[in-house]
């Protein structure tokens, strides 16, 4: 047999090989993802709201008059009576303070995304490190981290926010960080730790130790990458819970935000229209439907990613 060693890729092109590999696995996962119907449904909804969010500044700078359509300080001079029902100039009507509902809806979509994604990234970064560290070290470190997790899980989120909002101004950023910390050190950390426990006993961890790899190397190169699929999953679920918490809190008037879907319902409620849904449906439905749809879409996306990364759940 003739031994043909073939072209050996040299180091400078290594990153290109890796890029190719990443692209290949992305493609495989994408085709798996396409097979999960619920995931596509979720993605369609998300893209729809993303387009709404992106379109808002464009509309504001072109066709919409700022004095009328500003989501916070605008006033529909063209309507005789507020809240005005849907019309050609105000497709979703106006709110009790004379502001355009569609504009509010689109404006809020962007902050919902930012809030959800920031909360998710913070959660997953903290959760992955907590899980990997607790599982790898075990012993005292594990015990301390898990007792901290117990405290985080027991912590009554809403009551803390009520107290916090009395002390400081809690906006979207603060809320995202708070949710990220509570869930990263709490539930998400615990789930990722249980996954990490099955990783740290694998012989390839011991092989890395005999190779001379230190603790940090092993955690970052061997443990964390094997947690990432699950981390992504929990990222999606965190987005859902962040958007939902935001809605509840701003409905209660506890958040210091300029505009949000929860705040839109809050405005309706404080103006006394909440119980007249039949007559003033445009005050309630657009906002509450958006909350429901966006929350479910991230949940659906998470579920379908679960199928992609978890071969056992896959139907063949």
């Amino acid at each position: 047999m003739v031994i043909d060693t073939g072209p050996i890729p040299n180091a400078p092109s290594l990153w290109r090989v890796r890029l190719g590999l990443a692209g290949r696995s992305l493609k495989q996962n994408w085709s798996l993802f396409l097979r999960t119907r619920i995931g596509i449904l979720g993605l369609v909804i998300i893209v729809f709201y993303m387009l709404l969010a992106l379109a808002h500044p464009i509309l504001m700078n072109t066709v919409w008059d700022e004095r009328i359509y500003d989501p916070v300080i605008g006033f529909a001079f063209d309507e005789t009576q507020q809240p005005a029902p849907p019309s050609l100039s105000h497709p979703l009507g106006t709110d009790p303070l004379g502001r355009d509902i569609l504009s509010q809806l689109m404006f809020s979509a962007r902050s919902e995304f930012l809030l959800g994604l920031l909360a998710a990234v913070v959660t997953v970064c903290i959760g992955t490190m907590v899980g990997a560290t607790a599982a790898y070290f075990g012993g005292l470190i594990d015990m301390l981290l898990m007792r901290l997790a117990d405290i985080m899980i027991m912590m009554p989120g809403i009551s803390i926010l009520i107290v916090l909002s009395a002390l400081i101004e809690v906006g979207h950023l603060e809320l995202a960080l708070l949710i990220g910390i509570l869930s990263g050190f709490g539930g998400t950390g615990v789930v990722l730790k249980s996954q990490a426990l099955s990783v740290v006993v694998k012989p390839y961890i011991e092989a890395a130790r005999t190779s001379g790899g230190g603790t940090l190397h092993i955690i970052l190169v061997h443990v964390v990458p094997n947690l990432l699929p699950l981390s992504f999953l929990y990222m999606m679920f965190t987005v859902t819970s962040a958007i939902f918490s935001e809605a509840v809190l701003s409905f209660l008037g506890l958040l210091d935000v300029r505009m949000s879907w929860g705040l839109m319902i809050h405005t309706t409620e404080s103006a006394g229209y909440l119980l007249q849904v039949g007559e003033y449906w445009w005050l309630i439905f657009p906002a509450s439907l958006s909350i429901t749809l966006l929350c479910s879409s991230f949940y659906l996306l998470g579920r379908s990613l679960d199928e992609v990364v978890n071969p056992r759940l896959r139907r063949t």
């Binding site: 060693t5 590999l21 015990m143 190779s211 990458p225």
Partner: protein, 336 residues
Amino acid sequence: MAGATAVGTKPLIRVEGLEKHFPAESHWFRRSDSFVHAVDGISFELARGESFGLVGESGCGKTTTGRLLVRLAEPTGGHVLFDDGEGASTDITTLRGDDLKAFRRKAQMIFQDPYESLNPRRTIFDTVAEPLKVQNACPPLERMERVSRMLEMVGLTPPATYLFRYPHELSGGQRQRVAIARALVIEPIFVVADEPTSMLDVSIRTGVMNLMESLAERLGISYLYITHDLAVARYMCSRIAVMYLGKIVEMGDTEAVLQNPQHPYTQALLSAVPIPDPTATRAPVRISGGVARPLDPPPRCRFYSRCPIADDFCRDNPHPPLEKKGAGQRVACYKA
């Protein structure tokens, strides 16, 4: 390979009274009251270039011994003196930090399960290059070449077709070859091979064993070869030690031990294996029961409860010491 043991040179590894007791239950602030005596005071020497076999049934402490010898576990007692021929021998059980890292360049381990010993999310190149990388053993630009050469040596040719594949794209035999490449790429002088062929198809076992043997000769490696299969031990090892519940019960040249076993446990192990020579006869030795877990073993001979020739002396005396008997092997039995 038996001739590789040069007279007068210091052994590569000298194990003295090595002991590993696992606490049977875990308490936060109190010492456990009972212990699993996984390795219970064993001593042996491993000569440079030699392949030393460790045989015994499941749970007798073979893997634990191997892990202690490459410092994947800390012993609860005893010493492991490692002499790399470049200076005084060092007790590896007390190594820390940089010294431990330097030791890891010389001692490697090949694990039993090739399906679990390779990180599924890393390419073959990443896996085999890992020791070079963490040890900074060669300039980064040379890693590709060294890994390729190593893959070629373990029979994964042409290397370019394997470099950027993932473990799940390879067969069990190919994976074990990758694991061998990872262990040898840093050019160690001592390798613990923990049943490297037991998870492989019978048809490819011999290939992997031949590969390991030829690599040992080419690269001057000494193996601690762990196996429960006496035929494998005979094929690979010049000397063997038979373990039972954390103790070495018989140790010596492979042929001496297998042709003329002195310890009742070795005899029982052998009588379970067919003899290739049709004219040879062997009195069958039967032992009853299974291997117990060495949880707080009583101070008498570990084999007492299953030994067919045990008597009152065995019951009333501590575990017998290893003494020269028979054709030059050393045996731990009062009645051999």
